[in-house]
Symmetry: C2
Subunit: 279 residues, 2 copies
């Protein structure tokens, strides 16, 4: 993939995404197997966790390579559903949402544990109500209710820091967006007799904008990677595997739920998916 | 357009955008005519300016109506080019970019005035260099170099306030995005055996997310409207007309330049525009 020409960049970007989604589905199965087969051996699980983190590092590296000149695609990819694009932050999920996921898993597992406890004590009414919230009991993820106060403190510290870093990148992107309403682009737009007339200076400015956005995308991917790495360092091996499994399931599910919602709307409408009807 | 059913919402959204782009092209011509025909009569110009602002108010009202349940479309519209989507903030341009446009016009006009002055004094070398930067001299927009210190002070104050308001909305949207990685969505994703299995609670949460995003979109449109209104209040009638003309030209040009860049990439690639090749 050295020196990919502009002619196949878009194909490369989409192939790279498709490979990534397939790999996530595979890792989901790997993590599930490792957790349910009782491979709770610290060393083996840590090895798998390292592999999962390295997958993301590889993916981020490829994205960075493919976005150097054509980064716009990554900020509202055509391969995403519109639900996913509405949820996008710098071409991906918010790093802080990884931390929210830790909290969500921890909270739901504590609830489940309570439900199990009540179930064992035959206080059926309340436990049934709690069971119904989640559909099942004992399907994994139990480790997340064992988060210690020290772990929760570290996670909270990481949350604060991550939000700060996110805000820095959000500001940088805001400045770049504002810049496009300045010279030379705005001024060229004003002085052209014909709307959309090609202009070397504008092209250069837009290329530079896309390059800068590619840099921010790479920074955002780095922040996502750092946040993931720090979370799995704070968690035990089993907790980390449960957390990564939850992350993969959430990403894959969101993609499918987005498609389901789009399909439902299109069926109601009798239309065709995708395509820009132009003006 | 009362009670539009979900079956035609997407068509309505796109038609609404197409009408808006056509209206912008018409207003561009109206503003140009009013400025070049010497209709510099304060009252007439202010009337046209009011109409242009009202156009935006109507458009925002329609968007709000159409986004109430299906707002995701507005955060990365398929009718935009990917360049425009990469520049998007809450379904449109950043309100602060209107202010950057005032500064850009003011700066470029001051440069042009200097070029004209040098031209008259026959210091050809330097004036030619400045001419080349913009292509032409005396094509309108001159009023923007007449901004007084008081006007610039007010514009600067408005800039600070607008950025603050933008940041508030950015934070609200960040919180909503983070929420999707929490209960009930993340937890449902974890407990489903099959990825993408329909879930009433998830559907309800996603509907709520889209409704909240629709509210933020309406707030953002309100901020865009307020910022525009305050800018034209600070400017003289001629300046306001020049500014609105520059804004229309920038928006229309950006759409065309985005298409040009996409077409160029697709031609190099030999591919078809639009469409999601799926996985």
């Amino acid at each position: 993939m050295e020196n990919p020409s502009s002619s196949n960049i878009e194909k490369l970007q989409q192939d790279c995404y498709n490979e990534w989604m397939c790999l996530q589905a595979k890792r989901m199965t790997d993590l599930k197997r490792a957790l349910t087969n009782g491979e709770k051996n610290e060393g083996e699980l840590r090895e798998l966790i390292r592999t999962v983190i390295e997958d993301f590092e590889d993916y981020a590296g490829k994205r960075s390579e493919h976005s150097r000149r054509f980064s716009s695609n990554y900020f509202a990819p055509t391969w995403n559903t519109c639900l996913e694009n509405a949820l996008l932050w710098m071409g991906g999920c918010r790093p802080s949402s990884f931390i929210r996921l830790v909290y969500a898993m921890c909270g739901s597992q504590t609830e489940l544990r309570l439900a199990n406890f009540l179930h064992n004590d035959n206080i059926i009414g309340l436990s049934m109500a709690l069971d119904e919230t989640h559909g099942r009991i004992d399907v994994g993820g139990e480790s997340m209710s064992d988060l210690t106060a020290e772990q929760l403190f570290k996670i909270n510290e990481l949350h604060m820091k991550t939000v700060q870093e996110e805000n820095k990148l959000t500001k940088q992107s805001a400045t770049l967006q504002e810049d496009t309403a300045d010279m030379p682009i705005a001024v060229a737009a004003f002085y052209k007799e014909r709307i959309g007339e090609a202009d070397v200076e504008v092209e250069r400015a837009l290329d530079k904008y896309e390059e800068e956005m590619a840099r921010i995308l790479a920074e955002a991917d780095k922040l996502r990677l750092t946040t993931l790495t720090k979370i799995v360092e704070i968690l035990t091996a089993v907790q980390a595997a449960d957390f990564l499994l939850a992350g993969k399931k959430l990403h894959l599910s969101m993609h499918e739920w987005g498609r389901l919602r789009e399909r439902r709307r299109l069926e109601a409408c009798g239309g065709e998916p995708g395509g820009d009807s132009g003006e």
